[in-house]
Amino acid sequence: MSTTTLSARPAIRTGGWDVAQLVLNLLALAGMVALMWAALIYARPASNLSGVEQAAQRIFYIHMGCNFGALAAFLVSLVGSIVYLITRELDWDRVTQASVEVGTLCGIGTTLTGAIWAKPTWNTYWTWDPRLTTVTITLLIYVAYLLFRNGIDNRHTRARFGSIYALFAFLSIPMTYFSARWFRTIHPVVFGGENAEGQGGFAIGPSMGQTVFVAMIAFCLLFSALMIARWRQLRLQDRVEILREELT
């Protein structure tokens, strides 16, 4: 193997997408840094809480951010699925896969932060709060999607089946959410005296509202950056696979 071949031509060429990705990555990083500052320093502490609960309330911003990221991811995956089924362009299926992966990440983040926040607030790690319930079920659906894809070898079948499943999954989510909402209104809250439906019962001030806004923007940017990066990687992956199949 001649080394001149190796250095003479770059394996990966830089182009428009690389610039866009760099900008997006920097924006996402800036957004997350801004969020850290806003959540930990800028936002006023909740006036009606104290001690551990007051500090833990700040988790709420990350929790909302992750929630928003997961929601955005899910919507993008739905678009990707439908557009793939109509156009049969594999690029759209890669959009679905990338956004499901990032969405799973955000979903895990939402559940994790939700549980960690719940413990000092309601003295239990878990509450069947409709939002938390829906995110958890959604998470299970996403993971199933990824496992499903893993078990299918043919690229086109994988894309088709994945898209069909993603479509069904998305349609079930609103129904899961409403069922969870109705479930709780007539069932007495078993754990503690707190109303698990409430937002954790802290007085919302303007700095808090702004921080939530920052959280949503930051996680939106983060989701976009991660998803685009992963999407491009999936394109490369397929290119490599096709080349490999041709040469062997």
Partner: protein, 50 residues
């Protein structure tokens, strides 16, 4: 306080973990791409010579 730290650190671990996963995969793919392109170039050269 520990709860706050745990939550923030947890989320960052998730993001960082994914970034590590992606960069490892990227390195793998780029290496394989280089190998395959070399193979392709050699095949072309052999084809032209023949």
């Amino acid at each position: 306080m520990t709860f706050l730290a745990a939550a923030f650190i947890g989320v960052w671990v998730l993001v960082t973990g994914y970034l590590i996963f992606m960069s490892q995969r990227q390195r793998q793919l780029e290496q394989e791409m280089r190998t395959l392109e070399e193979l392709l170039a050699e095949r072309n050269k052999a084809g032209r010579r023949a």
